[in-house]
């Protein structure tokens, strides 16, 4: 009788739970199902005050190392100690491969050092953001160039890193997956005030000022709507000023920070999500989360956003930095109940078909299985 030995993976994520960014949510949603498929992923992430150096969280072994702090110290002893601890973790875990969730992180230095020996462990890289010029540091590109395989959470992410790898290196598109909705969203009815939502840090790059200006333009054409802005950041006062100056202060609701479950409930109350980002978003998780509720989207044509929202089908993809286009899209989207319902249905089905959690889990299982081969001499 043979016993199936699980494949072991050591994944590097800048942070892990209890932090909840895009990568952490992905890991939280996928690690347990991957274990059930025979792929045992342990996580290495940054140290954080008050969190243990090692703990098991829902069956996942989590190691926290002061990777950034050691670099910041500029004392040679500190990064050496991290290298030593990481080598001990690798010895204990005996992974078949290393998986970098985002290559532009402090762990890149340590992984680079640990894999310069002959017969190093294979490195897989997932790009969670579009690789920008400022990301293209020596160590980042060196590690990318040594990756056995690359995956991206959108075509835009994948394309941004693909030119740094030899042609023969496999590329995998693995969209982030969102679990089924836990609430239902009632449909918009013609004549009902339109409720919009934007979610994210209140910083200029997110373009929430464009959302407010777009709403103001639509209102000037008789549109009856309001927007809830969820999140906080240093742009809040500026956004309030813009709303006041445009005469729509009472239509712009600043919700501040909300726990994820409340964000979902707030999304379910809304009839469209606006993501007018000025930066190249890697994916657009909140747009996918809204889409699963049947909430159409108006997004900027940037990065992975225009893959999560489909122009004319699940919402509108508009030019970046163009408030007028947002205003026009609002008027179009809410021109008839039938049009809105069509977009809502497509949004729900697009998320189910393209961003289902099962697809995502299977994508990572295939990423690992198809890019691993046994090398008994690997460190």
């Amino acid at each position: 009788m043979t016993t199936s030995v699980p494949m072991k993976v050591l994944a590097f994520s800048p942070l892990y739970r209890p932090f909840l960014g895009g990568i952490e949510i992905l890991l939280e949603n996928t690690l347990q199902p991957l274990r059930e498929l025979g792929i045992d992923v342990a996580v290495v992430s940054e140290s954080a005050e008050g969190l243990a150096e090692f703990e098991v969280m829902d069956g996942t072994r989590v190691y926290r190392l002061p990777m950034s702090a050691a670099v910041r110290s500029r004392v040679a002893h500190e990064p050496l100690m991290v290298i030593r601890r990481l080598a001990a973790i690798i010895k204990k875990e005996q992974p078949s491969l290393l998986h970098m969730h985002s290559v532009a992180q402090a762990a890149a230095f340590y992984v680079d050092r640990l894999t310069t020996a002959p017969n190093p462990l294979p490195i897989l890289v997932t790009l969670h953001g579009v690789l920008e010029e400022e990301d293209k540091l020596g160590v980042v590109l060196r590690l990318l160039g040594r990756a056995r395989a690359l995956s991206g959470v959108s075509r835009a992410c994948l394309a941004s890193g693909a030119s740094y790898l030899p042609d023969h290196v496999p590329r995998h598109l693995i969209y982030n997956g969102v679990p089924p909705a836990s609430v239902t969203a009632p449909p918009w009815r013609m004549g009902e005030r339109v409720r919009l939502i934007s979610v994210g840090r209140l910083q200029k790059e997110k373009g929430f000022d464009l959302a407010i200006r777009g709403l103001a333009q639509a209102v000037s054409h008789g549109f009856d709507g309001e927007i809830s802005i969820v999140g906080r950041g240093n742009e809040e006062q500026e956004l309030r000023s813009i709303a006041r100056a445009l005469g729509i202060a009472e239509r712009v609701l600043f919700c501040g920070e909300m726990p994820p479950a409340e964000v979902e409930r707030e999304m379910a109350r809304c009839h469209a999500i606006l993501a007018p980002s000025r930066q190249r978003e890697g994916f657009g998780l909140v747009v996918a989360e809204a889409g699963r509720l049947g909430v159409p989207a108006i997004v900027a044509d940037t990065g992975g956003l225009s893959e999560v929202a489909l122009h004319g089908r699940t919402g509108f993809v508009v030019d970046q930095d163009n408030a007028g286009a947002i205003g026009s899209a609002l008027l179009n989207l809410f021109s008839s109940q039938a049009e809105w319902c069509r977009m809502s249905d497509h949004a729900r089905s697009h998320v189910r078909e393209s961003f289902g959690l099962a697809n995502c889990i299977e994508g990572y299982a295939d990423f690992y299985r198809s890019n691993t081969w046994t090398d008994p001499h690997a460190i």
Binding site: P14, E49, F109
Partner: protein
Amino acid sequence: MRYEADAARISHERLNDEVIIINVETGAYYSGSGIFADLWSALMEGASDLEIVQHFEGSHSGEANSIRADVRDVIGQLIAKGLLSEAPERSSPAALSLPDVPGASWSTPSFAEYTDMWDLIQLDPIHEVSEAGWPFAPPKDAG
């Protein structure tokens, strides 16, 4: 010729087979292992270039000319990068405390240079969130 690293500018340490050298003024990191780590250790123990070459000729199999050229080349690179400078003449170390490498073959020592470490940790996508979850910001007093 003997060499030294300016303690005010250069932080360096060896652990097992790995050495890290940091120019704290520029933030540049340098790291190497194996023969490079031994070469750096020997330099920091006060050995002259000649003594280091003699040591490696005894400990590694390889062309003497190659060993001599490689050692001088690496020392030259370290000087050029501001990590080493010539030191006043002093007595030879009694013995170099380098690991035994029985049967080792000579290979050109090399080290990696990381000049963008500060940029790297600035890039680190540390999310502005707290334990309460996204998009909660961390407490003001959190590290």
